[in-house]
């Protein structure tokens, strides 16, 4: 017995997912595009009026917006591009040489930090960086100068927090990638006298470049949308010294009740995200 069903019936199981995606994901995105061009406020008027590109012009003239863009950039480069990515690769490479108990222990600790709920991670790092917290206790013990990290260097503190929380992902991606490199290649290079750094630079890195590309994309996208971690640790402060774009957007919407303006910022963030997403798709292209 053959199954010759009409195409419509075959596609039927897709419909619940498609309906959900259209109503609750595509819908809000379309709505986002619409209200970004209006002066919608949190309270008050029932009808928002169309204001064209005013919100966007306002954003580019707004020193606070530029500050948020700059901080988002610093946060992303420090924590994702440099921190998570490099540390993740280093951990994966070291794990290949380490003894099994150490490998299991380190992997377990790093992954636990990753699996923890975002807010809990925020509290743990808040406690770590506070004036009376663990970091300063350590520094005191080492006779090094202490400071109130969350006030003096809030971006550095939240970036470190994001490294603590997010490195496991890179570590897992790179461990999988390194496992796929045939051992003959590295052994041959070793016999030819290539040292550890040269093997890393000339053999390992070129061979895992695709994993590096996808990992960087995904890390960056995740870091762009970090909210809870920073919210718990600093609320974007002191002042706006750690106010990245998501926190800026939230403040504009709910403290200044300018939903239209906040949404314009959201749309810009979404556009940057989409750009990364498209690059990511192109990196994966051969595999879809």
């Amino acid at each position: 017995m053959r199954h010759h069903r009409p195409r419509i019936t075959r596609a039927l199981p897709l419909s619940p997912a498609v309906v959900l995606l259209l109503l609750f994901l595509a819908g809000p995105i379309a709505y986002c595009v619409y209200i970004a061009f209006t002066d919608l406020q949190l309270t008050g008027q029932a009808h928002a009026s169309f204001v064209g590109f005013a919100n966007f012009r306002h954003a580019f003239q707004d020193a606070e917006f530029r500050n948020a863009v700059w901080l988002t950039l610093v946060f992303t480069v420090l924590s994702s591009l440099i921190g998570q990515n490099t540390l993740g690769l280093a951990l994966a490479a070291l794990m290949k040489r380490a003894s099994k108990p150490v490998r299991t222990l380190t992997g377990g600790v790093v992954i636990t930090a990753w699996v923890l709920p975002e807010v809990v991670a925020g509290f743990l790092l808040y406690a770590f960086f506070r004036r009376e917290g663990t970091l300063n206790a350590l520094l005191e013990w080492l006779h090094l100068p202490r400071q109130n990290w969350l006030f003096t260097l809030p971006v550095l503190a939240v970036s470190f927090a994001n490294v603590w929380r997010g490195t496991a992902f890179s570590m897992l991606v790179y461990s999988a990638a390194l496992d796929e490199i045939p051992s003959e290649i590295t052994e041959a290079a070793e016999v030819d006298g290539a040292g550890g750094w040269r093997r890393m630079w000339h053999i390992t890195l070129p061979m895992i470049r695709r994993s590096i590309g996808t990992n960087l994309m995904l890390n960056t996208l995740q870091t762009l949308s970090v909210f809870g971690l920073i919210w718990v640790m600093t609320r974007g402060g002191p002042g706006n010294k750690s106010q990245t774009l998501p926190l800026f957007m939230y403040e504009q919407a709910f403290q200044n009740s300018m939903i239209g303006y906040a949404t314009a910022v959201a749309l810009l963030l979404l556009l940057v995200g989409s750009l990364f997403s498209v690059v990511y798709l192109r990196l994966l292209r051969t595999e879809v």
Binding site: R97, V102, V110, L125, T134, S225, T263, L270, G273
Partner: protein, 275 residues
């Protein structure tokens, strides 16, 4: 050669141990403080052992209601995600169509969109359609935001189930829905478990979505109610905060361990995101 190898292993072990200690310090704080009668903000060996912190927070207000809310939200969201993803993955995996590729590309594109960015417009939209401050609205949004990745994962796992087994069932007169439920899904059990656990863990830890979409305190999940330890009460009871964090985090850590074990210690998501 062997000596060189031993010294290299030693160096790798030492470096990893340093990293492990650095990563473990904040974790040690939460565990130690939860049983410390005089918990502060720094890691220290408690000067006594107490379960008083747990006693103090194990009340309906502080712990049970938020955890129950989390369970309803994440359980509902996960169920919806898994059912919709399994249904959607079936035609994508089994039937050839010109629409498959564009659909999958759209899905993959959507998996990496920063959902945080759209929370303000989602809030505005939910106010308009009266879904604000409702559990069902939040569940629907949770499911929709998790669906792209769930469909993508599910389809990849489903591709691993040989089609021949299903064709045999069709010959015996089974319909496609029957073969999906009776043959395909049981055969991809570990894959199904990964999608379920992953969706649940993502929702359980999510702060921003319920923070934006829910307003009444009695509907708040643990991810948001944990904020109550700060602010309104003035002095923070760090011991209680730590105890609550331990209780709130334990389920997701256990679930992760369960899935990681089942997949032979390996981790499928690392491979899945590579394509």
């Amino acid at each position: 050669m062997p000596r060189k190898r031993t010294s290299r292993r030693l160096a790798a072990d030492l470096s990893l141990l340093v990293v492990a200690v650095a990563f473990a310090l904040p974790l040690a704080w939460v565990v130690l403080s939860s049983v410390d009668p005089h918990a502060g903000l720094r890691v220290r060996v408690p000067d006594g052992f107490t379960l008083g912190n747990f006693d103090a927070i194990l009340t309906p207000d502080i712990t049970y209601t938020p955890l129950l809310n989390s369970l309803i939200l994440c359980g509902g969201g996960t169920a919806l995600t898994v059912v919709c993803a399994a249904l959607a993955a079936y035609p994508l995996s089994r039937f050839r169509s010109r629409l498959n590729r564009p659909f999958l590309l759209t899905i993959l594109f959507a998996t990496s969109l920063p959902i945080t960015a759209i929370m303000v417009p989602v809030y505005a939209l939910f106010v308009r359609v009266n879904l604000i401050d409702t559990l069902q609205g939040t569940i629907f949004f949770f499911a929709a935001s998790q669906l792209p990745f769930a469909i993508w994962l599910m389809k990849n796992f489903m591709d691993g189930v040989p089609k021949e087994l299903e064709e045999a069932a069709w010959t015996d007169g089974a319909s496609s829905p029957q073969s999906l439920v009776r043959i395909v899904l049981p055969l991809m059990g570990p894959g199904l478990a990964v999608v379920t656990v992953f969706s649940f863990v993502m929702m359980w830890g999510n702060f921003f979505v319920p923070f934006m979409l829910l307003l009444s305190p009695d509907q708040m999940p643990a991810s948001v109610s944990i904020n109550d330890f700060f602010g309104n009460r003035g002095m923070v009871a760090y011991g209680q905060l730590a105890a609550f964090s331990v209780i709130y985090s334990t389920p997701v850590i256990l679930l992760y361990v369960l899935v990681a074990r089942r997949l032979g210690g390996g981790f499928a998501l690392g491979g899945a995101v590579k394509g």
